[in-house]
């Protein structure tokens, strides 16, 4: 890791100003993902701006929904009664991720910005279009066993966001509040926040240089209250998903009134499936409906040599999650 300077910012204005002065500086909150990237020489920053003193805290009910400060930790959000009651899938997505130590340190704003675990990205000795644009993507014909099958391109097949939390956020229409210099804020739906790789896989989000994630707002809904997050992985804890599903259903009298579906582990970004939702909405809550929805969700899959199993696995995961919520 390079030597770096460390500054603690007291306000958002101060933090954004510091980033403006040194564009190569980085914000640090929990540091659980940034320090890993720096130790592996994948990112280099001469200055770290500590944002932990910023007032991006609190979990509270507002008229727009549940508002969660971006500096809350994964464990605090995952265990918060309002989250557990109103958004069980969001709570589960946090508590099934990482390890207790990491969840106690990691901020949820940082979680949204974590980067791919693709082995070709994580080892600077490999070519990687995401790390070094134009250098190539050996994953296309190499070890793609746990890489994405939806939204991928010839440039990149990474699960750009490898985690769980944003998958649940994608399902339940979360909106991010972002802040640039001079206190200027804007709202961006989570589903517009990530960018597909196309031929610019190094550009991962719409976050502008120096912009901070302030808060996440989750609109309350019946389908969010009746929700679950199901995660399939090769070991029972401390592993990224091979496939996961965040689903919410509002079922009345056996008919699905509203449905939300997002998949993890299979998409180049957290994969909201409106195709699946269209099939579910208004249909009877039966296995046949769930199977049809799952088939629709994976319709556009483009598997490579070693990740073809994910088509079936993701479908089965989605069906199981829907069954669990409908039960």
């Amino acid at each position: 890791m390079n030597d770096f300077s460390y500054t603690q910012a007291a306000t958002a204005k101060e933090a954004t100003a510091l980033r403006k002065d040194t564009p190569t500086a980085a914000y640090i909150a929990g540091g659980t993902t940034l320090l890993d990237l720096m130790k592996a020489h994948l990112q280099e920053h001469p200055q770290l701006v500590d944002i932990n003193l910023l007032p991006f805290k609190g979990i509270e009910q507002t008229k727009d929904g549940l508002r969660i400060g971006a500096l809350e930790t994964m464990s605090a959000v995952g265990e918060h009664p309002l989250v557990v009651q109103q958004f069980p899938a969001v709570s589960q997505s946090l508590l099934l991720a990482a390890s207790p130590q990491l969840r106690n340190m990691a901020s949820i704003g940082g979680n949204i910005l974590q980067r791919t675990r693709c082995g070709y990205f994580r080892d600077a000795a490999f070519p990687c279009n995401k790390r070094v644009p134009g250098s190539g993507c050996p994953a296309q014909t190499g070890d793609n066993h746990n890489l994405a099958i939806l939204g991928v391109s010839e440039s990149c097949i990474a699960n750009s966001y490898p985690g769980d939390f944003s998958v649940a956020l994608a399902a339940f229409d979360a909106v991010l509040t972002l802040e640039k210099g001079k206190g200027k804020q804007r709202q961006v739906p989570l589903n517009d926040f990530y960018r597909l790789p196309g031929n610019t896989p190094h550009i991962e989000t719409v976050l502008e240089p120096g912009e901070l994630i302030v808060a996440i707002t989750l609109p309350n809904a019946a389908h969010a209250q009746s929700s679950t997050y199901l995660k399939v992985r090769e070991r029972s804890s401390y592993a990224y998903a091979l496939a996961s599903a965040a689903v919410g259903l509002d079922v009345q009298g056996g008919t699905i009134r509203a449905a939300r579906v997002a998949l993890g582990g299979v998409g180049a970004q957290p994969w909201r499936s409106r195709e699946a939702e269209r099939i579910l909405t208004g249909a009877p809550a039966t296995e046949a409906t769930f199977r049809a929805a799952a088939a629709a969700a994976l319709q556009g899959a483009q598997p490579r040599e070693h990740n073809g199993y994910k088509v079936e696995l993701a479908q089965n995961t989605l069906v199981r999650a829907l069954q669990q919520v409908a039960a």
Binding site: F126, T141, G142, D143, V232, R235, S236, A239
Partner: protein
């Protein structure tokens, strides 16, 4: 010693041997006082060395731009193949072939050659670790890359049958197995695949080298054998053995990868020589994957012939695996297949392909672990095909003597292990048909397999110094891999000296102590305990001699052979009231302490020391000379839940029953078996290192992406031992348990998956993708 040493019989009064004593080094470890090899930080002028390794798997170094690195603060030196001092001898020099305790037939940084990704190409030395790491990252190494071969599966790979692999012939034949299988009424053929596995010790490889004088080197190293490392370093650096001291007080796991001398162990003293200061070199976690070997990826085809009743007639075994460009290395899977059952004919062939990788190496139960997977799955197939219970097929083929040489076993309690395991598990309630039991969304299955591991010959020395105040120092240059050597030897010394264990200090891990062989091949417990026990007998012999000549002693005039030691008191065997405390004898003789020493032997060299002296004998001949075949045996039973839609296999119940001679400490022994079985569960269900098929570089060389089991993967585990009295293996009657605990584990799990699903998965690890694929196949 003048008299024949006695076999260690269980004390008439209960001693500490056999008791579940907690680790004597536990306190030092949990309080941070235990000093590991990378923690000798107070050496004068210590600097840090960091390896710069090759990005590509094959090629030649054409340039190293050191300018940016050189400018970094704290940088002391940058060494490359152009300015690194050369070793006097390298492992591939014909002169020393076979005498160096190193699996490398190639030593890096001698020339511009690059043979594997991760090969050291430069070394940066700086005042702090952080400075060295960052400067190493700034080094720009240019390599003219050539197309590598990634594994035996690479279309470019050329397969061949080696003359020898690890002392075993490339082709072995016992009887006419081809004809036996071809003519057998029941024939089975199956191919088994294994992914590359890594040892992943918690403590990475680390070497601290300190030249105390031009002819005096001290090395603090992460090694399973200080003596072997000492001899190898002496040879390679052109020193006499006594001029090199190697210290390993604590080891954070070895599992076979620390049993050998790897490049960094030699590069550290060469670097220290170059900079004239003590140097600490620690492998990064990623470098651990290319710096200290691995279990090679491999496939095995097993052809089995049996009678209609299920009696084995012959087995033909073929293995294909990857080796490095310079070695013919393969773990010897055929050993266990050859000996585990009453098998009249056997043939095995090893095929190798050279690829651009570091040589693979011993990994927990090398050979026997993967060999047992193929054999024990095939035995399960045979049982199902003939409608027999898996235990029944094994009893039907029970080897009452060693089928490879006809010798009796020194001891074998496998039948008792089957019976006890079956009872503890509730095996009698097993549904003989597979695919019959559901629990919620999962299919439930039961499986079992046999375990075995040989008693390898080894020998070593120990010294015991008994003080008149009732304390003792016990010494042997052994290594405690973290498995409990400190503890069990303290127990043995306590009983042998009649002292409470807190009065014993056992010192190990240093070449200034009496030399003993490495801790590997499950030999340490038997060898070191025997050495220490015999050294204590030497002490008593000296004291008895003293007492019977001392007019003031109640034992005066007695025959030495009539005197025995009982809890620190020397007394007449026939008249226990006549005697005195050892301290009284020593005080009258003005002796502050008495020292004894002995050589302990393990395996067939124990009873017949001459067989080890004859170096021309091969292993079989040595065994023949000794007259007994010596193995530990055991069995594993397990239950799995398989989710056929999500592909997840979960082990839900586990029973291991082992018979391994005398169990010195059931607590540390149980921990060993639990650890070995979990290691096996990892291999069965999740562990795999993947090399890119075109670039021959690992894509998951870290503990986030190489999955070892976590607590949530492991059920409650029942581990039991069957008591065994074996007077042939060594003076303590101990067989090792380090390796046997993993043998058979992968097969037990795969057999349970078969019972659950009706699908036979023969490719490890059994990950969700493979389960889903299998579930699509017809039963």
């Amino acid at each position: 010693m003048d008299t024949e040493p006695q076999f260690f019989e269980t004390n008439a009064t209960p001693g500490i041997v056999g008791q579940p004593l907690s680790r004597v080094d536990g306190w030092a470890k949990v309080t941070g006082q235990a000093k590991y090899s990378a923690e000798y930080n107070r050496l004068p002028g210590l600097v840090h060395a960091v390896l710069k390794t090759s990005d590509v798997a094959k090629g030649r170094v054409t340039g190293i731009d050191t300018s940016a690195a050189q400018r970094q603060p704290g940088v002391v030196a940058i060494l490359t193949h152009q300015n690194l001092p050369k070793p006097v001898k390298v492992p591939d020099s014909q002169v020393n072939k076979g005498t160096l305790n190193s699996p490398m037939g190639f030593f890096p940084m001698m020339t511009d050659e690059v043979h594997y990704a991760g090969q050291p190409v430069a070394i940066v030395v700086a005042d702090t670790l952080e400075h060295a790491q960052y400067a190493a990252a700034l080094l720009k190494v240019t390599i003219a890359a050539e197309a590598p071969v990634s594994s035996y599966l690479d279309p470019k790979a050329q397969r061949y049958v080696p003359k020898n692999v690890k002392g075993t012939a490339g082709v072995t034949k016992r009887g006419d197995a081809q004809a036996a299988v071809a003519g057998a009424p029941v024939q089975l053929t199956a191919t088994y695949h294994h992914a590359t596995n890594h040892h992943n010790p918690m403590e990475p490889g680390a070497t601290t080298a300190h030249w105390e004088a031009p002819d005096r080197l001290t090395v603090y190293d992460t090694t399973q054998g200080v003596s072997e490392t000492q001899k190898t370093l002496a040879l390679m650096l052109g020193l006499a053995t006594e001029q090199v001291r190697v210290v390993t007080k604590y080891l954070g796991g070895g599992f076979g990868c620390k049993a050998w001398v790897w490049p960094h162990v030699v590069l550290a003293p060469l670097t220290a020589k170059a900079v004239g200061r003590p140097v600490k070199l620690v492998l990064s976690r990623q470098q651990q994957y290319t710096g200290m070997g691995h279990r090679e990826e491999q496939e095995q085809t097993l052809r089995l012939g049996a009678t209609k009743e299920g009696k084995l007639l012959g087995i033909v075994h073929e293995k294909t695996s990857t080796t490095s460009p310079w070695d013919d290395y393969a773990e010897t899977n055929s050993r266990i297949i050859n000996m585990l059952y009453a098998l009249p004919a056997f043939e095995s062939t090893y095929h190798l392909a050279k690829a651009s990788v570091m040589t693979s190496t011993s990994t927990r139960a090398p050979g026997d672990m993967p060999g047992s997977f193929a054999l024990e799955c095939s035995m399960d197939d045979l049982a199902y095909q003939l409608g027999l219970d898996p235990i029944q097929i094994r009893l039907l083929n029970y080897a009452e003597k060693d089928p490879t040489n006809g010798h009796p076993w020194s001891s074998k309690s496998l039948k008792q292990c089957y019976a006890k395991g079956a009872e503890l598990f509730g095996w009698s309630k097993r549904n003989p048909k597979n695919g019959q039991t559901r629990a919620g969304n999962t299919l439930v299955g039961w499986g079992m397999a046999t375990a075995s591991y040989p008693v390898h010959n080894s020998q070593g020395n120990a010294r015991v110094r008994l003080y008149a105040d009732g304390h003792a120092v016990v010494q042997a240059g052994a290594t405690d891999l973290g498995t409990g050597t400190y503890t069990i030897i303290t127990q043995v010394a306590a009983d042998a000296l009649g002292l409470p264990p807190e009065n014993i200090r056992f010192e190990l891990g240093d070449t200034i102590l009496p030399s003993t062989q490495w801790s590997g091949g499950s030999t340490a417990a038997g060898r070191v305990s025997s050495s220490v026990y015999l050294a204590a007998q030497d002490v008593w012999e000296k004291l008895i001699k003293l007492a019977v000549r001392d007019r003031k002693s109640p034992l005066y005039g007695a025959k030495a052979a009539d005197v025995v030691m009982e809890k620190g008191r020397l007394q007449l065997k026939a008249k226990p009231a006549t005697g005195e405390a050892f301290s009284d004898i020593m005080k009258r003789a003005s002796l502050g302490d008495v020292e004894g020493s002995a050589q302990g032997r393990y395996g067939s060299v124990y009873k017949e020391p001459s067989v080890v002296a004859d170096a021309d004998m091969n292993k079989e001949e040595k065994e023949a000379a000794a007259g007994y075949s010596m193995h530990a045996f055991g069995t594993h039973f397990c239950e799995v839940h398989v989710d056929p839609e999500l592909g997840k296999v979960r082990v839900t119940r586990w029973v291991s029953v082992m018979s391994a001679g005398r169990i010195l400490n059931p607590k540390t022994a149980r921990s060993q078996v639990i650890g070995g079985a979990i290691f096996g569960m990892g291999s069965a269900l999740m562990e795999q290192t993947v090399r890119d098929p075109h670039l021959a570089r690992y894509t998951n060389a870290d503990l986030a992406n190489y999955h070892i089991p976590v607590n949530a993967d492991i059920p409650d585990m029942r581990v039991e031992f069957v008591d065994e009295h074996d007077p042939h293996v060594n003076a303590m009657g101990v067989k090792g348990i380090g390796e046997i605990s993993i043998v058979g584990v992968t097969a037990a799990i795969a057999n349970a998956v078969f019972h659950a699903t009706g699908r036979r998965l023969r490719s490890l690890p059994i990950t969700p993708d493979k389960v889903l694929d299998a579930m699509r196949q017809p039963v």
